[in-house]
Symmetry: C2
C-alpha cells in the first residue's frame, strides 16, 4: 500500500460502480458508504451511472440517503447509483478524460476513490490514480472487485459470483427434477445457457446440482467443444438416466477457438452479444439423436436474482466495500480489496489488499484440476472450492408477493465545473 | 356429485400426476395422500409416471413412504411420482386402455381415483369414470387441477400458476433494476420469453413487476401482434424511461393467427416446441430501432422454481388435493376440486366441487377487462385478481447452499395382472 505523504489528502470519498452489475454489488456499496459516513471525514459521494457521473459531475450526495436507505442497499439488485460500460482511453493517447476526472476530484475535495468493478475497471483505477498524482491531486484509489464471472486473479472469489452460482445450481437442480419426472414421455434433453464469455465458473457451478455420476453435463469455455464426443456423452447419459441436462457456457468454443454461437445454424440468428451457444448444441443433439429438447437462457436473471443470493457472497461484498473505504480514507491506495481463503470447511476467509497492477486485465479461468478428465463435469476440488461460496441464504423482505426494492435517493450535489464535452 | 350406490365402492385410492409438472403439484400430492393415509381405509397407491404407471401396473405403495416423506413433498419441485404426456384415445375408437385401467382398478381394489392435471386430464378422468362404471368397477374419479398456464375454467386459479407468476414477476422486477442501472451505456431492451401457448396469464403476471406507467411491456397471445405498433411502443418507452422490458408469451400470434415463433427469421431456428417468439420480437426491435438487446428464456425454470413458490399457491394445491381425496373416499366422483374466491383483499377462498364435464377441454384466456386499451399492460382488475395468488413466501429448507430435495421412496406393489401391451 502506498501512502500519499507529499500533499494532504482531501477528505471527500467518491464511490462508483462499473460494468455489469450483480446481485451483490449494492452490498459492497453499503459496506463502503456506511464506513465512509461513519468515518465522518468529509463529503461522501457516488457517481451517477459510474464513471460517467464523475466525468459529467453528476454526483449523488450519499448522506442525503440516510442510514436506513444505505442499510437497505443489501436487498437491492442492479446498481443502486447506476453503472456503465464506458472504456476510458489510454491516458497517453487521450489524457482528457483523466484530466477531467482529476478536475472533478479537486473541485469536490475527493481524496478517496473507490471503483467497484471487474478486471478492466481495476486497470482504470490504476491509471486514474497515476494521473491524479501527476496532476497534483493525490487520491487514494482502491478497487472493489465485482463480477459474476469470478475471473479476477488474486482473490479467492469475486462478489456476485457466489449468488449467481447459487442461482444457477439451484435452478439446474430444480429443472433436473422437472425433466426427470417427465422424461419417460417428454423432454429428454434440457439445455440451459449460462453467462461467462472467457471463464466457465458459473457453468461449473451447475455441476453442484448433482453428484459426480449425475445426468448433468457441463460445456465450459475452457474445454474445446468436440461435436462427436458431445453427442456420445449425451447418448450415454440419456441411456443411463433417461434424460440429460446440459449447462452450456455462452463462451463455448471449438478447437479452432471460434465461438459456437457464431457458427453454422446460429449465423442467421447472429446474437453474438446474447449467446446462442445453447441453441447450437441443443440443435446438434436433436439432429444427431432425435431428442426433443428444451432451452432456457438465464441471461440477466442469473445476475439480478437477489432473491436467491448467497449470504456468504453478500457478506464478502459488504466486507470488501468496508475495507476499501477504510483503507482509502487512511490514504492507502493502489490496491484492490480481495478475499483470502483460510479454510474450506468450515469456510474461513479474511479481507486483504492486493496491488491493483497485479489484478488489472488478467483473467482467471477454471483450472484443469477442477475439470473432470472427460471435460464434462467438475472434480471434488471444484466442489470444495465452490460449495462455501453459495452457502447461506439471505431472503430479502417481500411485500404483496414481491421483493421490496427501495432505490436510494439520488440527490445530486451542486456542480462546480463547466459541462464535460465528450468531443 | 354422483354417489355410487349400485355396488360397494372398493377401499383403495390411486393418485396419478398428468402433463407438465409445476412447483406446486407435489403439494397436491401431499394433501391427497396424507388425507388418504389418515382415512385408513385401504391401499394408497400412486401411479409411477402418471397414467402410464396405471396401464403398466407400476404402482407406488404410498404408505411405504412414511409420514415424513409425505410431508416433505411440499418442498419438492417436479413430479414426485413421475408424470407423463400420454393422451388416451377416444374410448369409442379404442377401448383397450380403458379396459386395462378398469382391470388394474379391480385387481388392486381401487375405488377412488385422483387425477392431477390440466384440462385434457379432466376430460380423461371423466372418460375413465364412465368406462369403469360400464365395466362394473365403480370408481369415484376426482380431478385435481394443475397448470402454470392458469387456463382451466370453473376455478379461481390453477395450482402452479401462483408460484410461476411469482417467479416471473420477481425475475422481471429484478432484471428491470439491472437494465435500468446500465441502460445509459448498455442494453436498452430486455426481452424475456414466458410460457403460455394459448393463454397469457403468466406473461400478464410480469405486469405485476411495475406500475401502470412502467417500462414493462407485455405481449399476450390474446392480443394479435402488430409490428408497427410494437416498435412504436418500444420507442416510446425507451424515450421516456431510457429502457424497455418486454415479457413475451411463447404463444404470441399475428393478426392471421400464426405463431410468431414460426415466422420469418425464426424459421432457421425452428424451435416450435421451444418458443422462439422472444427472439423474433427482439430481432425486430433491433432492426427497426437499432437497440442493443438481451434475451432470456425462462422455460422450465419458471415452473420448477419451488425456491420462490407462492405460499398461497402451495396452500391451495394442498387443500385441493386433500378435498379431492376426501370426496373420492366418500364416493363423490365426477367432480374437480376447485378454488372459489370469496374476497380479493384480504384474499379469502374456499374449495368447492365442480362437475368434471364442465371443465374438460376448455381454455380460459386472459379476459379483455384485464388488458389495457393498447394491449401492452394489465389493468387494475388484473392486479386485484393476480396479486393475492403470488402472495406469501414458503422458502424450502436449504443445506450447503442448495435446496434440500427429498424424493419419496418409490416402492412398487406386486403386480396382479399380466404385462400391458401397447399394441
Amino acid at each position: 500500500m502506498k501512502k500519499n505523504k507529499s500533499k494532504a489528502q482531501a477528505t471527500g470519498l467518491l464511490y462508483a460502480q462499473s460494468g455489469g452489475v450483480t446481485a451483490a454489488i449494492n452490498s459492497s456499496a453499503k459496506g463502503a458508504l456506511e464506513a465512509a459516513v461513519a468515518a465522518d471525514r468529509g463529503r461522501v459521494l457516488a457517481g451517477s451511472n459510474g464513471i460517467l457521473g464523475v466525468l459529467e459531475e453528476e454526483l449523488v450526495d450519499v448522506r442525503a440517503c440516510g442510514s436506513r436507505q444505505l442499510a437497505q442497499l443489501r436487498n437491492l439488485p442492479g446498481g443502486a447509483f447506476g453503472s456503465c460500460r464506458y472504456k476510458l482511453p489510454d491516458p497517453h493517447q487521450d489524457p482528457r478524460p483523466y484530466q477531467r476526472i482529476a478536475d472533478v476530484f479537486r473541485a469536490h475535495q475527493i481524496g478517496s476513490f473507490l471503483y467497484n468493478g471487474g478486471n478492466d475497471s481495476q486497470d482504470t483505477t490504476s491509471k486514474i490514480a497515476a494521473f491524479c498524482k501527476s496532476a497534483g491531486v493525490p487520491v487514494a484509489c482502491v478497487g472493489i472487485p465485482k463480477t459474476i464471472d469470478n475471473d479476477l486473479v488474486r482473490t479467492d472469489c469475486c462478489p456476485g459470483f457466489g449468488s449467481a452460482a447459487k442461482y444457477i445450481a439451484t435452478s439446474v437442480a430444480e429443472c433436473a427434477l422437472d425433466v426427470a419426472s417427465m422424461a419417460r414421455t417428454s423432454t429428454k434433453l434440457f439445455v440451459i445457457e449460462v453467462m461467462g464469455r472467457d471463464a466457465g465458473w458459473l457453468t461449473a457451478a451447475a455441476g453442484l446440482a448433482g453428484e459426480a455420476d449425475s445426468p448433468i453435463m457441463l460445456l465450459l469455455p475452457e474445454v474445446p467443444f468436440a461435436a462427436t464426443k458431445f453427442v456420445r456423452a449425451i447418448r450415454q447419459r440419456v441411456s443411463q438416466h433417461g434424460y440429460c441436462i446440459v449447462a452450456c457456457s455462452e463462451g463455448v468454443r471449438n478447437a479452432r477457438g471460434e465461438l459456437l454461437a457464431s457458427r453454422g445454424g446460429a449465423d442467421a440468428f447472429a446474437h453474438v452479444q446474447l449467446g446462442g451457444a445453447g441453441s447450437v448444441v441443443a440443435q446438434l443433439a436433436k439432429e444427431k439423436l432425435g431428442l426433443k429438447y428444451h432451452l432456457a437462457i438465464a441471461d440477466y436473471m442469473q445476475r439480478a436474482a437477489r432473491h436467491l443470493a448467497s449470504r456468504t457472497d453478500l457478506d464478502q461484498a459488504e466486507a470488501l466495500g468496508k475495507a476499501a473505504a477504510q483503507w482509502a480514507l487512511a490514504g492507502h491506495g493502489g490496491v484492490m480489496a480481495s478475499v483470502r481463503r483460510l479454510a474450506d470447511s468450515p469456510y474461513r476467509w479474511k479481507v486483504e489488499a492486493v496491488p491493483l497492477a497485479s489484478v488489472a486485465n488478467r483473467v482467471r479461468q477454471v483450472p484443469k484440476t477442477f475439470i473432470s478428465a472427460d471435460g464434462f463435469s467438475i472434480t471434488a476440488a471444484a466442489r470444495r472450492y465452490m460449495q462455501p461460496l453459495i452457502s447461506g441464504e439471505d431472503w430479502p423482505p417481500f411485500r404483496a408477493g414481491l421483493p421490496v426494492h427501495r432505490l436510494p435517493r439520488r440527490r445530486l450535489v451542486a456542480r462546480r465545473l463547466g459541462a464535460w464535452k465528450r468531443k
